[in-house]
Amino acid sequence: MNFLVASIESLGAKVTGWFTVGYDIFAFLFRSLLLSLDRATWNRATYDVVIKQVYFTAVQILPVFLGYALVISWLIITIILTTARDFGLTAFASEMTIRVLVLELLPFLTALFIALRSGSAINTEVALMKVNNELDALAHCKVPPMQFEFLPRLIGGVISVITLAGLAGLLALLLSYLSIYGLSMAGFDAFTQILAKVFNFKILFGLITKCALFGLAVTLIPITAGLETPKKLFMVPVSVLRGMMRVFFAIVAIEVVSLALKYI
């Protein structure tokens, strides 16, 4: 009997914990949105920090990222084309590559890339700030860290995921055109037709929204995970671990919901 009570209790504690985490994340998001609507936020200094964040999250990794996107796209396109040829379904190959790569795989991989590179860094940094009392020091100075530490990271994450996924998608489109039609304009009309079919404005809007949500998830969740770190140095790795787990779940959840909305 005691065992039963204990397990129900632990379940309850877990559920409450998840609710608290979810609430913290959304409360933080709400606060940052509110702040981003404030005119006073948008001064030269905030812009500078945003630019710095975009530089570190997107520009710095651009060559590596594009190379990686190139290899992945080329592989997937080749696989789809060969399979389609084997089954006599070449007519569907280009649409398939666009749907698989540009709409789903590349945004997802971009989000993972940024989560692993910048998300983990943000999580660690925020956790260290918290453990080292830097946040308390800022609070003592009445300087809200949101404006120059967190909000620019959120904005930088959103901008980075959208732009990197967009660039990778364009690269994949170019590559799939070259793989199917070669270096000629012969297939331009047919390709245009397929693009027009795939990219209606709902899809385009959905793609941008999805990338923006990815960008939010890979920055917002690490920040909140870092903020809830207890003031003990050995808790920093635990905090990063938890944060990255949540980021992964969030990315998968966003992808699943977007797929469900698109195809169900």
Binding site: Y55, T163, G166, T192, K197, L204
Partner: protein, 315 residues
């Protein structure tokens, strides 16, 4: 800090530029800068047609079905939309066929046999033909079976084919070329149907020629009497010849009708993927036969008044 700003600026500008170009391109692709060309298709049933079903010309999608509904008389009206740049492929003699392949979604196939024909005006209503392969197959199989039975019946020893071919041979030496061809056709059962068709036609031709020859004989007899008749011969003969010409023209037009029937038959059966090639080949062969028969009639028409060819006399 300056180079950092420069890099981020360059990155942002490039991405924005690419994004803008892509959006413009999508707008162009979706025909935002163009007029939409509308078209109505009348069909007996909306089965398999839904909004979004593509209109395909030569394997390339040029438009799609926007809506479909009933008109006041309970008929199905399908509204389709095309970009103005694609409307040039639609001609007044274009045919619209609903294709429901075994693999892949339904599509409306547009065939424009003559691209020089006048363009189809906007908002016109065309008939949507159905070629449902899945429905067509059992019927075709039945047909092929019947044809095979027929062929067997025809090609039995001293059967109709042999008799007819003998007839043909005796009718004109020029037909010997076709004799070889027909024999060739008989080699494969798929082509059997075409053979019966062409045989039917040949038979019709023979009957025509037969009756023609009989009449000719009669007329010749008459002409003999006319020759000795007190009235002027020349005028009468000319009249008789005019009659012959009329009859020959008649024979020709009946052949044309047979040809038209043939076209329909081929059009219906042309959608079976496997069979299409064979039927197309068959079609050309039959066309060839009909053309040759036509040429024969023309020749007879040309030569008859001047030289009585004994070969045209039929048994």
């Amino acid at each position: 800090m300056k180079t950092l700003h420069f890099k981020v600026g360059l990155f942002a500008a490039t991405t924005l530029l690419f994004g803008a170009i892509f959006v413009l391109y999508i707008l162009y692709a979706r025909g935002f800068f163009e007029d939409t060309y509308r078209l109505q298709l009348a069909a007996s049933t909306a089965d398999g047609v839904a909004p979004g079903v593509p209109l395909v010309f030569s394997g390339i999608e040029i438009g799609r079905v926007s809506t479909l509904g009933l008109n006041d008389n309970g008929g199905i009206v399908i509204h389709a939309e095309l970009l103005a740049r694609n409307a040039k492929w639609l001609k007044e003699n274009s045919t619209f066929t609903l294709d429901k392949p075994i693999v892949g979604g339904a599509k409306i196939r547009i065939d424009s046999p003559d691209l020089k024909a006048p363009a189809l005006p906007e908002n016109s209503t065309m008939l949507l033909l159905t070629s449902d392969v899945t429905k067509e197959i059992p019927i075709l199989v039945e047909r092929v079976k019947a044809i095979l039975a027929n062929v067997e019946h025809l090609t039995r020893k001293d059967g109709e084919v042999n008799g007819t071919l003998a007839n043909l041979e005796t009718m004109t030496g020029r037909m010997t070329g076709e004799y070889g061809m027909l024999e060739g056709i008989l080699g494969s059962p798929e082509k059997a149907r075409g053979v019966t068709d062409s045989l039917d036609k040949t038979r019709a031709l023979i009957t025509k020629l037969d009756s023609l020859a009989l009449k000719m004989d009669g007329m010749a007899a008459k002409a003999d009497t006319w020759l000795f008749a007190p009235d002027g011969v020349a005028l009468q003969t000319r009249d008789a010849l005019a009659q012959v010409k009329l009859m020959l023209a008649d024979a020709q037009s009946s052949l044309k009708k047979a040809d038209a029937l043939m076209t329909n038959a081929v059009a219906i059966s042309a959608d079976v993927k496997e069979g299409t090639q064979d039927f197309a080949a068959l079609r050309t062969e039959i066309d060839d036969a009909v053309r040759k028969a036509n040429a024969l009639v023309n020749e007879i028409n040309k030569k008859w008044p001047f030289a009585r060819d004994p070969e045209v006399k039929l048994p």
